[in-house]
Symmetry: D2
Subunit: 271 residues, 4 copies
């Protein structure tokens, strides 16, 4: 059994990421799938900051199914997001694909992401955990909830308690959505563990029109946040163009989320 990840009381772990307390209220992490150039990064960062995002996401090392797809800007991407992060006072979340990415990321960004493809890459999880940086651990598309919690346990055993879990869709059979978003699984996770649980409706569905209602759903259901893809010009995005929100839609979503908040707080209080 996952001794450290297991919930043993009603107390929830709060993970502090550059002052943003994940596990208290509903946290929004937004930004482009891939960091493409300075202008795109800056425009995205300024836009999501203005709309009220809590943290900034952006991919520098991209795990692409095909070796012929854009593989990310690498270390230069890290420099770009780190600069945008400082300018807009938004902690940055960037995925580490390989142990060799970890030192630079630990120095430059607020939170390291372990992607779905690497959920059971325990060597990488351990290296990342040892930095002490908060980790965002995404559920793999065929992973059970217990497998995700055991993966988190690998990180916790390194002495790093700052682990946030993320549901991003499991493999489904319907071609209308890219994956099958398991909201009930994310809620069940909250019963099994004290760690914060957020959702990634962009990757879960691959379809931008479904992202705003699913973020609202996650907030109403009492989850801890969402990470989503926002791009200044989705049609020109280097990857996952179909699932990114533009800045206007993101801003509108943030307003709708705000409108939900009072009732959500009442809701949470009543539990």
């Amino acid at each position: 059994m996952y001794e450290l990840a297991r919930r043993e009381s009603s107390t929830n772990t709060v993970v502090d990421v550059d002052g943003v307390r994940i596990g208290e209220g509903f946290c929004v992490i937004a930004g482009p799938c891939a960091i493409e150039d300075e202008l795109q990064m800056e425009t995205a960062a300024r836009g999501v900051a203005a709309a009220g995002a809590d943290l900034l996401r952006g991919g520098a090392y991209k795990p692409r199914t095909s070796p012929y797809s854009f593989q990310g800007l690498g270390d230069r991407g890290v420099a770009l997001i780190a600069a945008a992060s400082r300018r807009h006072r938004l902690g940055a979340v960037v995925e580490a694909l390989d142990a060799e990415h970890v030192p630079l990321l630990a120095r430059e960004v607020a939170m390291l992401q372990i992607g779905a493809r690497n959920m059971q890459n325990f060597a990488l999880i351990k290296v990342a955990a040892r930095t002490g940086r908060p980790l965002l651990l995404k559920r793999g598309p065929a992973a059970t909830l217990d497998e995700l919690l055991f993966a988190a346990e690998y990180a916790l055993l390194e002495g790093n308690p700052n682990v946030v879990l993320c549901e991003r869709g499991v493999r489904g059979f319907d071609p209308h959505t890219r994956n099958l978003f398991d909201l009930a699984g994310a809620l069940r996770l909250k019963e099994l563990t004290h760690l914060p649980v957020i959702v990634d409706p962009s990757h879960a569905t691959g379809r931008r029109s479904l992202v705003p209602p699913l973020v609202l759903a996650a907030a109403a259901a009492g989850l801890d946040g969402a990470i989503l893809e926002v791009h200044p010009e989705p049609a020109r995005a280097c990857c996952d163009a179909e699932q990114a929100l533009d800045l206007e839609s993101f801003s509108e979503l943030m307003n709708r989320l705000e409108a939900l908040r009072p009732s959500k707080v009442a809701t949470a209080a009543s539990r």
Copy 2:
């Protein structure tokens, strides 16, 4: 292509079930999985009516995996729910398992349900549709969205436009939940069709603690309603005891749903 079920404009179909207009606002259908006896039916009906449910559900003919499980009260169950329905002025929703159940149900209850196991029992769908009664058509656990819409098309082609679709979970791999609740699929359905779409989080998860947050999620996401299992004494339920809410929890959920409503309306308006 499903010519009749396909969305061609922003106009949504509203299905009138004994005066309850499914497709306008968020509709709640509640009641026991199986009708067990007069007292249980009456207590359940009175309780869900008092808490503000819109319609009353109850199973008279139960499609049970095992022939050794309780198979329902049959016609007597229909009489019990019909009486409770009249007493509490709540339209009743009952599943038809076989063409021979259809005439009695069409006479006694407000809405006929076609269950997930029968989603592609086209003979049954056609017989039920010909009664003109509103139909609640549940998605099968391995059905794609297109297959569900084609099944609805069989009903629509009989000249009955009153079809409500219901997502109740697809077959998943995680043992923590009975099925995998496909909220994103339900939202995608709303894009593909003008028919109302509701959810059944009781069957989707098989776990009562997950039902209230998923109902709130469905409402916040803009779906048209939920059908859920409520039992006066869940621990004594003849079937699916693990997923039924008791009356107090149901009442609390209805209050939380009410608290969500203003922001939900604002949300819907902003679309």
Copy 3:
């Protein structure tokens, strides 16, 4: 638990279908997906008989996803396959979609099929079982092995011991095959039950090139037979054209199966 379907000893049930003993050796059932006209039925029946098939299949009532697809010739199709069956001395296997099809089928054909979509249409299973005719019960695309065995139990409880189970693919996620052929599940079934277990690689894969190797695989693994689609002119088939073998390929497959037989016998003997 499924008391009657459960294996309790090493004795296997043999189901006699017009003299063909399913459960002894490897049985081949072949014919068109849908009966289209007299010439097609006759050509198919003559061809599969000449190649050595044991039984003849053909659909008269077709359960089609779309109401706009060809729905089968109905009762006239039954007459055509019954005549071809007599001419070529091959027992016929035809699917019943509805209780009202059962009396005619029980009179005219050797074996009644309950299709995958109706695996949990218990009303239909019971009506079909009461005829005493052998039943071919197909596994639904989301059904567990236990659910299939419970469905068989409904038939066995009617006093009809002549039930053959069929694996025809479960819902998978890879677009290269129509379903996911669960050969290991079919083998596991043989451990759980004394009933014969055959496979349907045509529906399981939807791809004719994969049918012959999968039939050989099923035979080598020790299963009891295969049902497959054979059409005189696959390119002109009214339904499932992609998965039907032509007569020449079917004949070649039967030769390859024959070549496997000695070693298969040796294999079975060694267990």
Copy 4:
């Protein structure tokens, strides 16, 4: 598209592993899940060599779901299998979990395995491919065939043409088997690529009784081989005890496979 992995003619790639030519005939790779100690390794190696295995498998670095499970002997395990490999003249196949394992493995063993959990760990694949050693690339439990072929493409692009693909089960829903063995998918792979394709029925099913019939099935269907777990005393195995064959069962399987061979060759010739 996967340019290098894609089949463009009927010519198949043959991968030479210490003189064993994978892609010609049916290759058997056998040995324990985890290398436990010198005696176990030696007994297993001697046994599988005597029974006619072509290559020896054994895990030194174990990717375990739980951090509390046995994690393998590490480098010492590599030394043990390398010694057994030399003594019995059987090339060894060992999984690399991390880039830092690769140099030792490339020096000591005949073939490097990339496990299912790392199928999209492209950094690891590239490092392993650059050694020039033959690679055994296992399909991930949620990977489509195209995703597997793209992963192979990452290796091929490093200039290493010696890639063997392995189907080891995808995530299924039935608790009777650990995974869902996708034999049809493995056959479809052979149509899509010129690379050899083998199967791992031990991990695919998690149940030793199903391993022999599935190996026979794979051979009859024309696949290129199987990798399976064999342990001198399965009941004492450190991991996956339920799926390992003992030496006697393995030897019996090799005899049954031999009996199948003539007809298999005839079969292949007729294609």
